[in-house]
Symmetry: C2
Subunit: 259 residues, 2 copies
């Protein structure tokens, strides 16, 4: 039975989508069945796997409108990664984005129903959320087993940790008693910038064992994913970014089997 | 009479807050009276000028609750930048964030009333918005004279331009006929990464004269602003980031007086 994990951060541009795509791909390469679900109306995840744009198949908005079933919107994404699937939002226009946010505002539980139906078929399901803590992110937190927070190794991201922890505690109290911490991931670490060492130290002191040991470096090869439309391990296994996400996947599998 | 300019992008982490703080500071150093208004509940702007946290004075949420007037929430921020002021949100808890978003959801026009009252006293008013296109960003677009979009020189940011243009056209049609483009700013340009040249070329071809000639490089000194709690020109005028924002301020003043 799979784990449902939301990747959240109110701070923008910290690597939520990059982590969903690259960690998902690495876990699937290590024989795990992985589903990635796009809740962010920006369609960033779909863009990383070539599912953005019209006529790429049904998506989450079609399920929310009751014109497709959850099984209809699960798409395979890469011939060399047969255990990786993605559910895109399939939002093309501003009007559809408004419709999507309105459905979620009025009926938060619908996200939970879709995710719970998909859960039995996968080992890991990662939900990519937009940089906000209200809906759709709040709806995701109300359903999942745990949440993961990428923390960019910069001062601007430090404040966001407290906000996510508070929002998660509120959701846990009101809607989802099982909600736990999957982990905090330090990413875009720039060895040359003096503040990286300081940020890494402070985060590890504050969050202790909840911080993954793996540190993802800042690596321009990772920023090519939305252009190449495939995860980094598909085009450069030897890059620092690919190695870090492979190491993270192994760390997660070690920790998961250990408990 | 001042210009009201919203800094928007649905894509997170592209430099909205950094541009508000640093461009604002540079324009004020060039004798302009500049006000920065924080609409983003993350309080990123307040953090960059030392106004975050409790007991730093009233903010936007107090005006929305009718317990303060717009003049009460304008704070000076730096002794060496006497023409720079900031209106923080003054949101401390998740409950206050929910209250804030609910007020804006139910009464979009309240943002307009506050901004219009402040407008006569400044040459430039920049509104820092969260990485989303619905409220509070939508409310800001419904009031301002123009909007500015930072574009990170990476593939992941390319898709966001079309989304912002569409949202702005909709707001212009429904609420704000005067809404114009202030400009697109290419930022975090990393000369070493091959894709920077390609992204810069594509953006300039697509958006032509709407793209500022000034290119802001990726500069770790800029990432220190939230830690030092002052704009980059206050601690390192010679850094590539400071020079770029000074050049941008001059470019804007040249263009503004030229028209
Ligand atoms: N370790 C890394 N090294 C270099 N670039 C990275 C790294 N991780 C992500 N990026 C790039 O940084 C940018 C932001 O990453 P990403 O889009 O994954 O963040 P996000 O948190 O999903 O953003 P949003 O808040 O808009 O959803 C993208 O251009 C991405 O390609
Ligand atoms: N030109 C630059 N060079 C290097 N770092 C930069 C530059 N501009 C901004 N930064 C850093 O990048 C990060 C993101 O910038 P910033 O917070 O201004 O973006 P934002 O668009 O306001 O983010 P959000 O979407 O969360 O509001 C911050 O850590 C900031 O200090
Ligand atoms: Mg994302
Ligand atoms: Mg910001």
């Amino acid at each position: 039975m799979g784990q449902l994990i939301a990747i959240v951060s109110q701070k923008g541009g910290v690597g939520k989508t990059s982590t969903a795509v690259n960690l998902g791909a690495c876990l699937s390469a290590l024989k795990q069945k992985v589903l990635l679900v796009e809740l962010d109306p920006q369609c960033g995840l779909a863009k990383c796997v070539g599912l953005d744009g019209p006529n790429k198949g049904a998506g989450l908005i079609d399920v929310l409108r009751d014109s497709a079933s959850p099984a209809d919107v699960v798409h395979p994404v890469h011939p060399r990664l047969p255990r990786l699937w993605v559910v895109p939002t399939n939002i093309q226009t501003m009007a559809e984005e408004t419709e999507y946010l309105t459905i979620l505002h009025n009926n938060m539980a619908v996200v939970g129903r879709v995710l719970t139906q998909l859960k039995p078929s996968y080992d890991f399901i990662f939900i990519d959320t937009p940089p906000r803590l209200d809906n759709p992110t709040y709806a995701a937190l109300a359903t999942v087993d745990s949440y993961m927070v990428p923390i960019q190794c910069e001062y601007a991201s430090m404040g966001t940790v407290g906000r996510v922890l508070k929002a998660a505690l509120e959701v846990k109290r009101l809607y989802n008693a099982k909600l736990g911490i999957f982990g905090f991931l330090l990413t875009m670490a720039d060895k040359k910038a003096g503040f990286t060492v300081r940020v890494v130290q402070e985060v590890r002191q504050y969050l202790k064992h909840h911080v993954f040991r793996t540190l993802v470096p800042r690596d321009p090869r990772l920023a090519e994913v939305p252009f190449r439309q495939e995860p980094v391990i598909a085009y450069d296994m030897q890059s620092p970014g690919a190695k870090a996400y492979i190491q993270l996947a192994r760390e997660i599998l070690r920790d998961t089997t250990a408990t």
